[in-house]
Symmetry: C2
Subunit: 199 residues, 2 copies
């Protein structure tokens, strides 16, 4: 059945090449000590859907998440992961790729999502379910962002927030034609196609 579920067909190779061509190096999320594995899995699924090439895990007071083999968790197979236990490591990695960091926040310094040009290289930092984004990160970010809400309940589940943030970035990028060109040169893209075909 393993063979049947991932045959080396031309259709599968074409799909893998298409998906890799749509992967973005300059759109990512940082999971700041997110505890619930269902939330982590759901965020990976949204990352896969909107073409995030790599997720950054920043875990300083919570164990790195281990994800089971449930259906939505399988998105993790298709999204790279970088692990960080210090702010230096995290921001070093983002700066190396020229990506600004926007922390989700409901502080007075936060701006609504619609004010940001998300065609620019962007990492959304998503916080722990109870404590939010690690306060140690906040002085280091390039901005704080919130999703405008109009209801009685003043927060979103973190995986829902991630989906809304990435969907808006994806909408802006689609409108700007930013999915049209692969993020990697042809040789590197083909190397990735070969690696994914072996998964």
């Amino acid at each position: 059945m393993q063979q049947l579920s991932k045959p080396r067909t031309p259709a599968r190779e074409a799909k893998i090449r298409r998906v890799l061509s749509l992967r973005r190096r300059d759109l990512t999320v940082v999971l700041s000590n997110i505890h619930d594995p269902h939330n982590v899995s759901a965020i990976y699924r949204s990352c896969d859907a909107f073409g995030v090439a790599k997720v950054h895990l920043y875990y300083t007071d919570t164990a790195f998440p281990t994800l089971g083999a449930k259906s939505s968790a399988s998105a993790r197979k298709w999204v790279e992961t970088a692990r960080h236990t210090t702010a230096e490591s995290l921001f070093g990695a983002l700066k190396e790729e020229g990506i600004r960091a926007l922390a989700t926040s409901c502080s007075p310094a936060a701006h609504p999502l619609g004010e940001y040009d998300l065609t620019r290289p962007t990492a959304f930092i998503l916080g722990n379910e109870h404590r939010g984004v690690d306060p140690a990160l906040v002085p280091l970010v390039d901005g704080e962002v919130y999703i405008p809400m109009y209801g009685m309940i003043q927060s979103f589940n973190v995986s829902v927030a991630a989906a809304i943030l990435l969907a808006e970035a994806s909408r802006q990028r689609q409108a700007a034609g930013l999915y049209d060109k692969p993020a990697w040169a042809e040789e590197e893209l083909e190397e990735r196609v070969a690696r994914w075909l072996r998964k």
Copy 2:
């Protein structure tokens, strides 16, 4: 503690009046036999957040959901519910309010979310986790809609899809100034404020 958690303070009354002023009668979702109570709760939470006044439940082969008193379920207190067991009842209610229905779908007839003017009165029909929208509804809808995806996994969790659809409708409506005017005349609004204060 009951008293403490919902005091009749001027601040609470002001919040309730503000939220009710932002409630929209012409933005809604239809839950077509959605099974998982967590998904139902999460959808109510998004409806509360984006100002949906009333949710339509269309249950023909699944029991109507009963929601517990967990935190996100409490959004249900603040969003009205209409129950339907026939397509006639559902579409009668939507037509009475002049709301077009868009079924979430991955059929060739579906258009991407970004092609729809969501400032128009709109109901998104969300389908069962396994079977999608009841096929009996599809010939009756005004359009089919999908969220553009770029990944290996070809579907969203239904509550994530609901959040993305409502967030986009909310974004378009905010940009068009459609949250500026209450959906009800002053007398009806005040009647609702009084009712919510008793909750």
